[in-house]
Amino acid sequence: MKKWIIMLVTVVLGLIGLSGCSDSDAASGGEKDGKVEITYGFWDKKQVPAIEEIIKLFNEKYPDIKVKTEITPYGQYFQKLETAATGGALPDVLWMNGAHVVQYAEGKVILPLSEMAEKDDYSLDNYPESLIDLYTVDGDIYGIPKDYDTTGLWYNKKIFDEAGVSYPDETWDWEKLKEAAKQLTDKEKGIWGYAALMGNQGGYYDFIWQNDGYIISKDSKSVGFDQPEAIEALEYNVSFIKEGLSPTQAQMTETAASELFSSGKIAMMFDGPWMVPEYKKNPDLDVAVVPQGKKRAVSIHGLSNVISSNTKHKEEAWKFLQFLGSKEAAEVYAKTGTVIPAFNGTQDAWKESVPNLNLQAFIDGAEYSVPLPSVENTGEIWQYETDVLKKAWSEEISIEEAAEELTKKANEALSK
């Protein structure tokens, strides 16, 4: 008995010792010699140089606000945020994406900005409308757009020249894309005309919108995958695989399509501007706007900066947020060429950072772009899309069956 008591005491003593260590942590983010320190959380290491420069410029204006950066790789970013939000330990200012904004806004862990923006006369007209829409939840804006990405039709000039096909341009439509894919496919050389990716952004979402379909209904109560327009669009996608014009789903999971494309095995594929640093290494590659269906459409997604509800320095965080959304900050981003800055008019500098690629294609797309739909269970719906559509892409089940199953599962998730 006594042994147990001693043991218990040692455990308790140890616990007290441990908790003593963790106390000092909470003190950071407080005030040090009259300076306020705020934290800025994000995931992309490639953007660190740009962010550091922006913070330097910010400190020229506000020398009393110190900004500490906190990088978490994307794979763990939202898992970590969720835990941090549960414990009230989110960074003061942080990156947010379209898939999560509704969940975070409705969970009240990020702050609505409309009131502060009105008070300070902060204009939201400086950003593409679709991005403002993306970060507006129940009529309140939650994030200031930082950058955006649309999709372009990347192509390999060498394969086009050898097959004698003219390069894609804005006149291309679905029919022309299919026709070109047929002409470009060369089984003997192991070249596929097109990569029918199973991805939503820059994939079947774009085709569904081009075909007048929808992903999530306006009232956020149902999905539109089983509508005839969507089924037709999905069938168009899979037809490339069925006709042997695209690698199969299994082939594209084993070897990423982007790798096949940059090594000259694929003639055309949809991809985003984030691939510019990779694709610019191969001089044969260029990019055009995506072909049109019944109408022009391309998905747009962009990140934004948000303020967490648990911040102790709301005023300072808002000042930093405004600066991150300013023209000055956007120009720093443009210069480094990593992302398309969201501030209207600063995109030209980005375009000129890689002059030999037709980067205008991505900027043109923004005009008729559609934001990725975002609801509280976006992540769950995406998971079902992958689970179900991959069976259609690998021709295990028909498009109709897949559409029906996916609609059922997604609608259930929406009704939660």
Binding site: K3, T10, E254, E380, S394
Partner: protein, 315 residues
């Protein structure tokens, strides 16, 4: 509690006095002993026992965003019974265990016995067999993924030289699980081999000498002496490998893509747990899966403990 008499007590003439001295000393011994193991005990309580208790509690709850949860009673467990994916995951895990554990143990005993001989460069061979153990599982998975690649991988290239069209090793639902099993066995041999080696070296030489005098051949020696005397180690290794095999996750996570056609036929119980806990944010149900897994492992280990009396020889 029975107290084992200290040596000093036996030696001493003044028994009573010394024994009370020993008692006080013992008490302070206990104090220091517990103080010394306190850090480890703390770790055990905070990082193992408490989470198990909490996990059990959470298995009766349903989670919303940001840590809100509500008590739903047995709902999660009812769902477990109807979940066809879970059944499939159990099937996959069972196949994985049935192949990796016995084959893995068999091969590592063979390797250990061979490397226990006096052959040239045996430490080099031991190092080579142990290398996969010190390599990160993620790195192993990446390398094998390239080897297995259906279009550009080495296996299918070698097969193509013999004019055979190789299969899609990690994409074909009928083959993928066995491809993973092969990697698991390969990477597990080294660890078990080291344990078996130490077991082999603990077998007294005299048994072998006696057997030699009686004219026993190497095969007879292996089955009549080595194997029975190694049985406690085999028992230990089989328990540990079985528990490890039940928890397989990293190889599957790394080698089978999220949009792979073979995912359903390869995903293990822990993979499913990960999906529910971190991808679908369905933490209550994930906790129920974890409780079920814990129960299954406990039962199977208990069965092994009972059965060991029939085949494990302690000296």
């Amino acid at each position: 509690m029975k107290e084992v008499p200290l040596q000093t007590e036996v030696k001493s003439a003044k028994r009573i006095k010394v024994s009370s001295l020993a008692k006080t000393r013992k008490r302070s011994d206990y104090f220091w002993a517990y103080l010394m193991i306190a850090p480890t005990m703390l770790g055990l309580f905070i990082f193992y026992l408490w989470p198990i208790v909490q996990n059990f509690y959470f298995s009766f709850t349903e989670w919303g965003a940001f840590g809100q949860y509500e008590w739903t009673g047995l709902d999660n467990y009812k769902r477990l019974l109807e979940d066809a994916t879970l059944l499939q995951a159990f099937k996959n895990t069972s196949i994985y265990i049935i192949f990796t554990v016995p084959i893995g143990i068999f091969l590592s005993i063979i390797v250990a016995v061979l490397l226990n001989q006096n052959i040239k460069g045996k430490s080099i061979y031991r190092t080579l067999y142990f290398l996969p153990v010190i390599t990160m599982p993620a790195a192993i998975a990446m390398v094998w993924k390239w080897l297995y690649n259906a279009d550009y991988g080495m296996f299918n290239y070698l097969l193509s030289l013999a004019r055979i069209e190789g299969p899609q090793w990690v994409s074909d639902p009928n083959i993928a699980l066995y491809s993973i099993i092969a990697v698991a066995i390969w990477s597990g041999i080294g660890y078990n081999m080291v344990i078996f080696l130490s077991g082999l070296q603990g077998i007294p030489k005299m048994y072998y000498e006696a057997a030699e005098i009686d004219g026993a051949g190497p095969v007879t020696v292996f089955f009549k002496i080595t194997l029975p005397l190694l049985s406690p180690v085999i028992f230990f290794v089989s328990i540990m490998s079985l528990i490890g095999a039940f928890q397989v996750f990293d190889l599957i996570f790394m080698m089978i893509g999220k949009s792979s056609t073979a995912l359903e036929s390869t995903q293990s119980i822990v993979y499913l747990f990960y999906q529910h806990a971190f991808v679908l944010n369905d933490k209550g149900y994930a906790a129920a899966i974890a409780v079920l897994l814990l129960a299954v492992i406990l039962i199977i280990t208990a069965i092994q403990m009972v059965l060991q009396k029939k085949w494990v020889h302690y000296d």
